[in-house]
């Protein structure tokens, strides 16, 4: 039973991180219909920004997270302006290739600036809490708490503020949104900035129990893509539920099947599910 609860805890940790990354991806897809392959690079830049702010400037963990969120939000907004905005009328293939170009640029840039070595991010929360036989590292509890708080804040932002509603409106109907006076350019930049914030926070939360290096975004972003396909591209609840499903599948799979193959589990799940339901689990009808 204890072992079971331990896996639940791990599943929630992974699921929380995956959901945050997938949320950014799905929001951008909802607005621009571009699978943003560079999102994993935003995640990586977020981790490096926090790491450097803590390491070089000696900021505390939360201030570093805030700084990194601002930096990545700016980076994402600039990327929208320079890369995706000129391609908004292009066919499906070209924005994808542009996103790949951005990804390659950011990764090579990170490697040139900060080296290819693995860095370890320190965290002030190194303690371990014992609860009814379950040992929980504080950082993991922090990840779960922060991730779900952020999801709640995102939900409130999207549903209760005018700014957030413009994002929803754009995702629902581009022309309709323009007709009622919503500035499409501003919303696109705003959406990218929000996705950047989510990626940076997820990276800063997860980095202390993982490592920081230029290729750290690869696996996370690939899984985030699995998640948004499962949840339906552009769907916010789908991204959260999908993230949790993959998080749990991985933590239980690693324990009950094989640690070596745990990274494959998410992809196998996708292959199996899409073989039976090409439109994803939560999406109605064909796309």
């Amino acid at each position: 039973m204890d072992i079971f609860l331990q896996q639940v805890l791990n599943g929630l940790t992974l699921g929380g991180i995956y959901s945050l990354v997938a949320l950014g991806l799905t929001l951008v897809y909802g607005i621009l219909h571009v699978p943003n392959f560079a999102h994993g690079a935003f995640y990586m830049v977020g981790a490096f920004a926090s790491f450097l702010l803590m390491d070089k400037l000696g900021l505390n963990y939360w201030l570093a997270m805030l700084g990194s969120a601002v930096a990545v939000a700016a980076l994402a907004a600039v990327a929208e302006r320079l890369v995706f905005h000129p391609l908004r009328h292009a066919s499906g293939l070209h924005p994808m290739i542009a996103a790949i170009g951005l990804l390659l640029f950011l990764e090579a840039g990170a490697q040139a600036l900060w080296g290819a070595d693995f860095q370890r991010m320190s965290t002030p929360y190194t303690g371990i809490i014992e609860m009814g036989g379950v040992t929980a590292p504080v950082q993991r509890l922090l990840i779960i708490g922060a991730a779900f708080t952020l999801m709640l804040m995102l939900h409130l932002f999207l549903t209760r503020t005018v700014m957030g509603s413009t994002i929803i409106a754009m995702a629902q109907n581009r022309e309709g949104a323009s007709l009622v006076g919503i500035d499409a350019n501003r919303v696109a930049m705003l959406t990218f900035a929000v996705s950047g914030v989510l990626a940076a926070v997820a990276a800063t939360l997860y980095a202390p129990i993982n490592l920081v290096y230029p290729a750290m975004g690869h696996l996370v972003i690939t899984k985030a893509f699995v998640i948004i396909i499962l949840g339906g591209m552009g769907s916010v609840p789908g991204a959260i539920v999908g993230g949790l499903i993959i998080g749990f599948a991985e933590s239980f799979g690693a324990f009950y099947i094989s640690t070596d193959y745990k990274d494959i589990i998410a992809f196998m799940a996708l292959v199996v599910i899409l073989s039976f339901r090409p439109q994803g689990i939560f999406k109605q009808g064909a796309h």
Partner: protein
């Protein structure tokens, strides 16, 4: 200039390829060129599914790795003669590609690309983790060089290897030209231009897309097998998605959906990289933005833009001439 289209242009390219070893000052240049040819062969395959058929397959490097590993494992662990293993490499790639293509081609557009990216990742992870079969991260070491044919030719010098690889590239280009100009090739283009319209014309979407996919992965498989015989060492890294990204760049620089474009891209970009040697590790600091600029300002690549310019000139000169230029 117009005469460069058609047989004369191809003959010139063929001559250039045959004479290149006279220009190359050392074996290193031959090696660079041979490697470029191998990736050009794989890029030709990728261009069939992306450029002609319009399905952005991100697992291409994975299929290249499957071909390479088939050859490596068969020759090193099972002492199969090189050319039998080479045939098997194409067959295995097709056999693996069949079910994967069937599942992934049910998805359209972005879904297909993301799905194949995941398939590529699965291939990479399986190669890395299945140590009893693939030697895991250690890689396959000591792959034999291609064996000579009937004692007449042997492939143990860089020069003979160069001609061997060149031979396969020529065959690959010739076959691709036949495909592209056939009804099958036009069917693929029809699917790219609008799959609903193509379906309305009576084209069986699934069957044709699967055909394109299979031809494309067999190109990748054989390119991978050549790579294995040429480099004689294999690691899981060959399956990594960044090799697919490299090939995408070659394709895009030259021109998507043209025959000559991907060829020129795949041969010229590695040479540019050679001259930017100091950048080797960081080449994408330049190539990343270049890729973005190309997509924004020159989406049809060098060859595509040139063809468009020529078509415009032709239509200005002779308004009644309806003939379409072909690459």
């Amino acid at each position: 200039m117009a005469r460069l289209h058609g047989p004369l242009g191809w003959a010139l390219l063929l001559a250039a390829g045959l004479l290149f070893p006279l220009l190359a000052r050392n074996d290193y240049h031959l090696t660079v060129m041979s490697t470029a040819y191998i990736f050009a062969l794989a890029t030709l395959g990728l261009n069939l599914i992306v450029g002609y058929t319009g399905q952005f397959n991100l697992a291409h490097a994975g299929f290249m790795a499957i071909g390479a590993y088939t050859l490596g494992i068969l020759t090193v662990d099972h002492q199969v003669p090189f050319w039998w293993a080479f045939l098997a490499a194409g067959a295995v790639t097709a056999l693996v590609g069949w079910p994967l293509g069937w599942i992934s081609l049910r998805l359209k557009g972005h879904y297909f690309s993301i799905f194949t990216m995941c398939v590529g990742y699965i291939i990479f992870l399986v190669i890395e983790k299945w140590e009893s079969l693939t030697h895991g991260t250690v890689g396959v070491i000591g792959i034999p060089a291609p064996s000579g044919i009937a004692g007449v030719v042997s492939f143990d010098t860089p020069l003979s290897l160069y001609y061997l690889v060149f031979f396969f590239l020529v065959v690959g280009v010739w076959a691709m030209r036949r495909i592209a100009n056939s009804l099958l090739g036009r069917t693929f283009v029809a699917i790219r231009n609008g799959d609903e319209l193509a379906e309305a014309l009576g084209i069986n979407l699934m069957r044709n897309k699967l055909t394109a996919f299979l031809i494309s992965v067999v190109y990748a498989g054989w390119a991978g097998a050549l790579y294995a015989g040429f480099v004689r060492f294999l690691g899981p890294d060959l399956a990594a998605v960044h090799h697919t990204f490299d090939m995408t760049m070659y394709m895009l620089v030259g021109g998507l959906g043209t025959l000559i474009g991907p060829l020129l891209g795949a041969i010229s970009v590695p040479w540019i990289t050679q001259y930017l040697q100091f950048l080797q590790e960081y080449r994408f600091i330049i190539f990343g933005p270049l890729l973005i600029l190309l997509v924004i300002y020159m989406p049809h690549g060098i060859v595509g833009s040139w063809l468009a310019w020529r078509a415009r000139q032709a239509s200005l000169a002779a308004p009644h001439n309806q003939e379409q230029p072909r690459a």
